[in-house]
Amino acid sequence: MVDLALLAKGFATVLSGYNLLALIMGSFMGIIIGAIPGLTATMGIALLVPFTFGMNPITGIVMLLGIYTGAIYGGGIASILIKTPGTPAAAATVFDGYPMAQKGMAGKAIGIATVASGIGGTFTALCLTFFAPILANFALRFSAPEYFALAVFGLSVTVTLAGRSPLKGFISGAVGLLIAMVGLDPIGGFPRFTFGMVELTGGFSFVPMLIGLFALSEGFRQVETILTAPKVKAVLTEILPKLRELKGLSVTFIRSCVIGLIVGITPAIGAETSCFVSYSEAKRTSKHPELFGTGILEGVAAPQTAENASTGGDMLPMLTLGIPGDAATAVLMGALTIHNLQPGPLLFRDHSELVHQIFGGMIVANFMFVILGLTFARFFARVINIDRRCLVPMIFIACMVGSYSINNVLYDLATCVFFGFLGYLMIRYDYPVSPMVLAQILGAMMESNFRRSLVMSRGDPSILVTRPIALTILILAAFTTITAIRRQRRALRAQAGMQ
């Protein structure tokens, strides 16, 4: 159960001087990153992770939480003003957000989007606070076979739900598994796939690789589309929503919060999925579904609530089990690891105070972007017009400097550039990047726990299917994989039929 005294202490820590300043800066930067189309929350976190090294762990973490929650919310601003989602998570906000802007209600749309995001994010931050300790306590019973099964479950969801093609998602994940094997064998200690290079004995540098795959690759994509960035022309008035408008949306908020939480908890799917599911449900259950798409408050509130509600859900498996909920939490995991904090149930046992500070940070971060979003809405709207010919080179420099600054070795810089270009090519040719990264984290967990299980059982593999929790998770993994593949084949057949 959550320790209320520690939670109060956590709030006090987060709201004190330097930590609060870091959180405000993180939220501010996060909203800007989210508002600019092409820059994602994952990219923002990846870019700024190296800059948190010199900070106290909790200061760095709250700054990154500010970026995470702020960027997910900020994507809605561009969706409303220029019909282009700032982040993939804000794609569904376009459907009613832009029509509202066309009717001269851009300010109201942004106000509702801001409050809706705050409600969704705060709800799941509270769920995280109260349920994470329970799940972590249960996970203390897990041993190597259970962690192996969890990793297999995470991998099965990761590769089957990413992108247009399950085959390409599978290839991306398999390559990620191979990349995870580069370095010294975790049990035997002999070198694997190092080609005699000393630099590779520790494997590929994880954070520079993340920066390359998520941030630099987006930089290359921005280079490709640099001439086509649309400009904001709307004038924002009446930003602060009225109380009766919010009361009228209460059912939408509750439903979207639950959808966001459930989608967020499922590994590898996050805000990009929850916004569409929530919008579809809001339309399906509405008394006037024909009004959706014409510019109504419900059409903005539903996706915005769900997308920020996913953030708490995504944090839950990451903090309690060490399984990232999505790409952004995979990068956050990297940040925690850099501060010598290994996510999982032992984090709750050995660093209970820090965990409660993280809970406090998540809750405060969700209030912070609401305050900043409502106060500086007009500024954030103008940020969208920033000249890409200044922004894109800065992204490149930030990626390269950030990668170098981790260990002050050029090898990290080379890793970032290599994976940046590889990530760009992967996105261009429809190979999703997230499975590759998630597979590296989950693959290392899968392999080491598989081998530990065999050592425990003196080579008898039946240990993996005779322990009830492990067997249940493996059955769930198989069921999820088969269902996802069948659903995607149906969708591809339907698409082919329409063409």
Binding site: L167, S405, L413, Y429
Partner: protein
Amino acid sequence: MAPVSMKKADILVALILVPISLYVFYESGKWPKEALIGAPTLIPWGVATCLLFAAGILLVKALSGRALTLAGKLAGADRRRIIGAALLAGAYVFIVARLGFIITTFFFLLFFGLVLGERRWLNLILFAAVTPVAIYVIFSTILNVPLPPGLFR
């Protein structure tokens, strides 16, 4: 822009994945196999086998005309910008240790601006000059992170 088939790209990827998978079999065959270290070759062989299988399916789909399509081909000015950006980033890695952060970043930003189509020379030179100095000062004094000094060693 007319959609373009990814057939050639998929065939190339399949042809790259096959030698990678075969190499995994080759190298992992040389590893120790003691039971006490939990069968180290099992998972690499499993992954390499799956990858070979997937490459085979990808190749068959591409050759039988079932490759997915891209929204449009990367060509003309878009392609030149991408190649320019990639070459600049690669050159940066090689040159930064020799010339140092400030000089290398100055030229990087200058040439990158030209690649992106910026022709306002005063703005470009000012941006290229001020940015690396500002970043160097922030990193060296505030964040205490040294950047490559190069010629200023």
